[in-house]
Symmetry: C2
Subunit: 363 residues, 2 copies
């Protein structure tokens, strides 16, 4: 088992990585203060892993809530199911919420923990690759609004994150690739060596080689932990983690919630960011090609939906959180492993990037 720490003073917490960790009481019990536990999962994950997770909390008063599965349920309305369970079982402010599932379950459970009785404890048990390398670490929690993704939320750090890589065995290929997008991101923004490693090991990862997976998760979580420790509330460097996300959120929204996976949209979004960087003269043509090859090798899409033109993108991007005083902030690349934030790019070049990355019209 590998152990990393997210260093946040009094609120520091461990990330535990390994195979078969899910049912181990001694991993979670040091991080629980009260006796009441609510495990939140969804209808896909619960049949596979709830029983195992329950055995880790067998010494506590445990209740469960099973949410419908899918990004389209990441809403205030679904959140109310968690509050209903907490209140109908008389949970007090010393309870602990446990998120067993992917990013949607983790974000909603975290937000419920952030706001139930103005804040209670929570533990992340991420079961998708994307949640394991990204969303379960760092304390971003929240729900979507019909007018924008993740627009309602809070920063609320978990008490611990237990990453059981054995849960990836049942993860479908498309979800696995979506997780690879966020792994690729860490290489592109700050770690050229890791990018090279990914180019060399992508086939091992796709073959679900355990050693390769553990190494990729550990490197990603270490990167995320360092960035979060340096900038918890995203005042500076943490914003680099949004590489590909402004384009990606636009694709997710434009395609309709649930049609594209978050990681798929981020994959295409990172390629668009690289392409715009090239058009601005900041990144070489061969580097853009490396980005495209890596995304393609990870079995991720490299083209946005055919119907999304420049106007469509701009309408959606205008409500993104990265907008400041009407200017769109984008994470772009000066080199592979060297990202920066800017709103000083040419809108004509942005238009070219968008047009160049629309899928061919299905009709």
């Amino acid at each position: 088992m590998k152990t990393l720490t997210v260093e946040l003073g009094e609120r520091s917490y461990p990330i535990l990585i390994g195979s078969g960790l899910l049912g181990e009481p001694e991993l979670v019990s040091p991080h629980i203060r009260g006796n009441q536990i609510l495990i939140v999962s969804n209808e896909t994950v619960a049949p596979l892993y709830l029983e195992q997770a329950l055995s880790a909390f067998r010494n506590y008063d445990v209740q469960t809530v099973i949410l419908p599965d899918g990004e389209q349920y990441k809403t205030l309305q679904t959140l109310d199911l968690i509050f209903d369970a907490l209140l109908s079982h008389h949970f007090d402010r010393h309870c602990t919420l446990v998120a067993l599932g992917g990013g949607v379950v983790g974000d909603m459970t975290g937000f419920a923990a952030a706001t139930y009785q103005r804040g209670v404890d929570f533990i992340q048990l991420p079961t998708t690759l994307l949640a394991q390398v990204d969303s379960s670490v760092g304390g971003k929690t929240g729900v979507n609004h019909p007018l924008g993704k993740n627009m309602i939320g809070a920063f609320h750090q978990p008490n611990c994150v237990v990453i059981d890589t054995a849960t990836l065995e049942t993860l479908e290929d498309r979800q696995f690739s979506a997780g690879l997008a966020e792994i690729i991101k860490y290489g592109l923004i700050r770690d050229q060596k890791f990018t090279r490693w990914l180019e060399d090991n992508m086939n091992n990862l796709l073959a679900r080689d355990t050693a390769a997976i553990v190494q990729a998760i550990e490197t990603s979580c270490r990167s995320k932990a360092e960035i979060v420790a340096a900038d918890e509330k995203e005042g500076g460097v943490r914003a680099l983690l949004n590489l590909g996300h402004t384009f990606g959120h636009a694709i997710e929204t434009g395609a309709g919630y649930g049609n594209w996976l978050h990681g798929e949209a981020v994959g295409t979004g990172m390629l668009m960011a690289a392409d715009l960087s090239r058009r601005q003269g900041w990144l070489g043509e061969s580097d853009v090609q490396r980005v495209e090859n890596l995304i393609d090798k990870a079995l991720l899409p490299t083209r946005a939906p055919a119907h999304m033109n420049y106007t469509h993108f701009m309408e959606i991007m205008a409500v993104d959180k990265k907008v400041r005083a009407g200017k769109i902030n984008l994470v772009l690349l000066r080199a592979i492993g060297d990202a920066f934030i800017t709103n000083e790019f040419d809108l004509d070049k942005l238009r070219e990037t968008i047009e160049a990355h629309r899928a061919l019209d299905e009709g």
Copy 2:
């Protein structure tokens, strides 16, 4: 104009108290970072004070949302009206929300500010006596749930609080008395001298004498500011501010949201706390009589609804936030001006207190 400060390090903020402050741009502008302002008010307050408030923000890009008036609308569903406005006007994370109204508007606007894009700025312009002396100061924000009051929320401090006592001129008598309940509370929990002053000045307050009102608000806000500075997240001394609130929340819930005002329920709740303190042998009979006289003099109810018996109270109190491991924590009195928290009281005496404070059956 009186100025107090809530001392919270980097997040310190001023409370400005005086008559005619609402339309003054120079009071609010030092506390605004961006250009986008959303004023949230309700259908009762907006016709009276929105125009004046707008003039204070005339140099900004201002939008408004008018909510329905009443505690029964303090819900996640109503909150969505604020998010709809923020998103449809493309508000970014540097916007400022302004709460113009009583406690319900303040709590909901504050919670929207706490969670919009994981946290934006907000300003409190409280227009009821209760909001001016209690809820606008200290950063408790949130909404109700059908199974409990204020069960969903966050700590989120405002950037400033502007208390215009002129807004009290239009406040109906019942609402005014509800505010007096929270003022009386500060005397009972920590300030015997202030209790004596209130006994001497209650008639002046009820006559809406400006000097008396300003003094009562200033003393109350100073008390609240000191307590919040010492214990922002209610780990200790801040819990004393809940005197009368566990009984009070039960009365509000049991009577049906909106039938009792919060302050009215707290008034009766404080008397019940005093009475239980006496039955435990901690408070003298004459002190209980002083509490009852003061609450009665403030034109507040001294009896809970006739239909609420012991079982009814206990069912509701069991989901209160002050419950820990099944034990009810109550704020009780050792003397006037000396409150403490305990869960070590006799349930039979609690039953006696509840039975002694039920109104005579209406039928």
